[in-house]
Symmetry: C2
Subunit: 188 residues, 2 copies
DNA sequence: GTCTATAAGGCGATAGAC
DNA sequence: GTCTATCGCCTTATAGAC
């Protein structure tokens, strides 16, 4: 069974946005990928700004679901963090793309103002989740050299996003692994 | 005394590229900033691809000079790393821009192939410098919880680039500080 | 929902005058 | 070195037929 047109458009837009940034793709690209005319895209997303909002909304939910899945599946803090690092690694598709939030960040000024809030909310979701997991680590002892949850959380998010950039620049997931090896070594 | 036109163009292009990415500015933007017509820009940079190369070449040299300055000025590994973190922090202009290499990373597919090599060389310069400094730390003891220089170096570069992204997304240097506080705490 | 056709303007780049 | 003028193409977006 085939996804509906709107979903196909979101899929195509997310893939190309994460590869090329918000200013790096056009309706013509999506039209070619999905197989309709570019004017038809406006029926589903009136403006490119509206498309950006829809992309970020869907991405936020998708990652939220993934965080829940990890929490439900992995019992210890160390294992939860390992699973998150693996998720960020896989998200690069071997250095071909970035997290949507990272890909949008340089295009900030081209995006509608509403994206500011959406991007902050997305980052806050991850940071809160990480704070909880690092707080758990203080109890279960599965993270070595542990400092404070509120210090560890933003540092790990920055590390993961930076590791994605490294992989994208080198077009090689090995660059992600080199950047995260130190952190991985701290996790039991 | 006024800089020559070519330098003014490079300055304008670097500023806007670091704010908006490679696909986020046009010759028209530079023409307005510098005060000449956009056709005249082609005299200095025949193509936008050539401009990208010139930008990266100049940026690489500038950062190399800064690394030398830090090494000449700061005696210990801990102080050198602190100085580098401060340099990356200041480079964001309070969350308004990114390192050129970070800003170019999502625009990868729009850039000439030659930029792949230039961007890798830039990153390698930083990583080599960091490896040397972390190796020094093993002797002078100014970095706590130290592991291996070859593990620490790529992790710190990713952290710094990720911290810049955080600051750019939040438009606030405080996000950079939250991301780097843990690392700062390890430096004597 | 998707189409054709088109508007209105931006893009990088070139030709040739000065 | 910078200008005016222009080319060919791309962009987002709209109007109206089907």
């Amino acid at each position: 069974m085939q996804a509906d047109t709107k979903t196909q458009l979101l899929d195509a837009a997310e893939a190309v946005a994460r590869r090329r940034g918000f200013d790096g793709f056009s309706y013509a690209d999506l039209a070619t990928t999905v197989g309709i005319r570019k004017a038809s895209i406006h029926y589903h997303f009136a403006t490119k700004a509206a498309l950006a909002e829809a992309l970020m909304t869907r991405y936020h939910k998708m990652v939220g679901t993934e965080l829940d899945r990890i929490a439900g599946q992995e019992p210890t803090a160390g294992r939860r963090l390992r699973a998150l690092i693996t998720f960020y690694r896989d998200a690069t598709q071997n250095g071909q793309q970035l997290c949507l939030c990272v890909a949008f960040s340089p295009s900030r000024d081209s995006l509608p103002d509403s994206l500011d809030i959406q991007m902050s909310a997305y980052r806050q979701m991850i940071i809160s989740w990480l704070e909880n997991v690092f707080a758990q680590a203080a109890s279960d002892g599965t993270v070595t050299y542990l400092t404070y949850a509120t210090t560890e959380a933003p540092a790990l998010l920055a590390l993961l996003e930076g590791a994605q950039l490294a992989a994208r620049t080198e077009q090689d997931a090995a660059a992600f692994d080199r950047a995260t090896a130190l952190m991985m070594g701290r996790l039991l």
